[in-house]
């Protein structure tokens, strides 16, 4: 009976989640209306006045909405649009020519079109499409302090940019997730101290302990083998960093951090470094002295060297693409309602979005697992005493001597 109620509750909460996503996207839709028309440049002014009428004019560019939704931003937008938008301002930190400028994103007054200039350290900044540029001295005919050039609907800005170290939406979520991760695992660590190691795990401990043991035994020991203990802390950190942020990304107002290429880049570079500083003689000899006739070494060695980079590159792209794709699919499904301009498509959209959302729950775990497992695999191949073909170290020497 209770389980039925629970299932019902769960269903309602998922439904609410989808519903709130739907609301959120619809807000984004109208919020991005001006931006969408910006690419057509000539309509910028008219759209500025006419965007209250919303869906009344022009086809909706769902891809722009979706891409905007999965991208980073300088403020944390919750709902609403224009001057009614409810969003949290975030700090902007810029490294300009005259030193570091620090101000809140609210100083742009929700402007994302390069029309509001913020002056700091004697330098003038504008924001266009969530990117900050040095402002022109005078506005153009549309009131923009930038110089946009349009080539077949592609807008590029020729203004120079300062180095942007802002605490963006993604950075903020990362800080929050780090605080959550630290809270979870230090309190678990404390639980072991206070309850002792002989008692059964409780609460958080009982949820995370199997995951920790899974990472330690199945991922680390399974792929690295002997000496895997050294890498377990790194693998655990990567696993939970990705997992927690994947889950945060699924919350409708959450940021798509794990679907951001900068984030996955840092993680895969970390894997690249960990793998290569731990590479043993076998690993390097496999790359620079491959077991093949010397005639094909000029082909083989570059391939192996490139292989050092392609492995973490694949890691980076896989996580980025999987997480971003999931978000885009959900937004696209909900966007169908606005493309067809009918409420009757909504049940189909919601049903499919629900399905994809459930799938994303799986993907959140799966991608954390895949990233960690492949990291362990790369480390394993770098520290392995044996060759891929199972030959012994001494056999290697014998073979090298034979060449």
């Amino acid at each position: 009976m209770t389980s039925k109620i629970n299932t019902y509750k769960r269903f309602t909460s998922i439904f609410l989640l989808i519903f709130s996503l739907f609301i959120g996207v619809s807000n984004h839709l109208s919020a991005s209306e001006p931006q969408e028309h910006e690419s057509e440049e000539t309509h910028v002014e008219s759209s500025e006045h006419g965007h209250q009428s919303g869906e009344a004019h022009g086809p909706i560019d769902i891809s722009a909405i979706a891409l905007e939704h999965v991208s980073d931003s300088h403020s944390w937008h919750f709902w609403g649009e224009g001057h009614d938008a409810v969003s949290a301002p975030l700090p902007i930190i810029l490294k300009g020519n005259n030193g570091i400028a620090f101000f809140m994103s609210s100083e742009f007054h929700h402007d994302n079109e390069g029309k509001v200039v913020v002056e700091k350290n004697g330098e003038r900044y504008v924001m266009f499409d969530e990117k900050i540029y040095f402002a022109n001295e005078f506005p153009n005919e549309y009131g923009q302090y930038i110089t946009p050039t349009i080539e077949e609907k592609e807008v590029s800005v020729s203004n120079a940019s300062p180095l942007d170290f802002s605490i963006t939406k993604n950075v903020t979520q990362m800080f929050i997730s780090v605080i959550v991760i630290l809270w979870i695992f230090t309190s678990i660590a404390k639980a072991y101290k206070t309850q002792g190691v002989t008692s059964a795990p409780k609460g958080k401990q009982s949820f995370f302990e199997p995951l920790i043991i899974f990472v330690r035994d199945d991922i680390a020991k399974g792929n690295i083998g002997h000496g895997s203990e050294k890498f377990v802390p790194y693998l655990l950190t990567v696993f939970f960093m990705i997992l927690i942020n994947n889950v945060f990304g699924m919350i409708p107002i959450g940021a798509n951090l794990t679907g951001n290429i900068a984030f996955t880049l840092v993680l895969s570079v970390a894997t690249l470094i960990v793998t290569n500083i731990n590479g043993n003689k076998n690993y390097w000899s496999h790359i620079f002295l491959p077991h093949a006739p010397k005639a094909i070494w000029p082909i083989l060695i570059p391939i192996e060297v490139v292989g050092i980079l392609t492995k973490p590159f694949a890691l980076m792209m896989r996580l980025f693409a999987n997480m971003t794709a999931g978000h885009i699919i959900i937004i696209s499904l909900v966007g169908l309602i606005f493309v067809f301009k009918t409420i009757y498509i909504a049940p189909v959209s919601v049903a499919f979005a629900l399905f994809i959302d459930v799938l994303e729950c799986l993907v959140a775990f799966l991608q954390a697992y895949v990233f960690t497992m492949l990291t362990a695999l790369f480390i394993g191949s770098a520290v392995a005493d044996h060759n891929e073909d199972g030959a012994h170290n001494s056999d290697d020497k014998a073979m090298e001597a034979g060449h």
Binding site: S63, L67, D164, T168, F175, Y192, K193, M241, I261
Partner: protein, 170 residues
Amino acid sequence: MNLFILASLIEPAVGLIFWTTITFVLLLVLLGKFAWKPILTAIKTREKGIEDALASAENALNDMRELKSNNEKILAEARAERDNLLKEARDTKDAIIAEAKAKSQAEADRIMSSAREQITNEKNAAVAELKNQVATLSIEIAEKILRSELSSDDKQKALVNNLMKDVNLN
């Protein structure tokens, strides 16, 4: 498709790289020191504890089994000992009885033989006495007979004649 936004999607932002690097390294250090080390140590300790407990349980079981078999052995030994004791007691009893029998037999034999010997001695003495008395009596009888026989001359002559008749002087 707005390629400009798409390009911004796959172009890593320097700020996010910067903050991610700092945060990730910090997280790695903090978690490593304050979370993973105590957690992994605790899990390992518990696993070792469970292993030890299982091993000690196994040992206890083995000990108990050994104790049980020992007990049985001791019991069997005790039983054997008891049987042995009983048998010995029976043997001793038999031996004592046999010895007593033999002893009494020997005593009886001795008594019998000594009695027999005494009887023989007594008999011999009696026979000897009897013989002496018979001899004395015989002599006395003979004396008396002789006296009576030889009390007259006629009788002496008749005797001599009788004797002379027996003696054949050929």
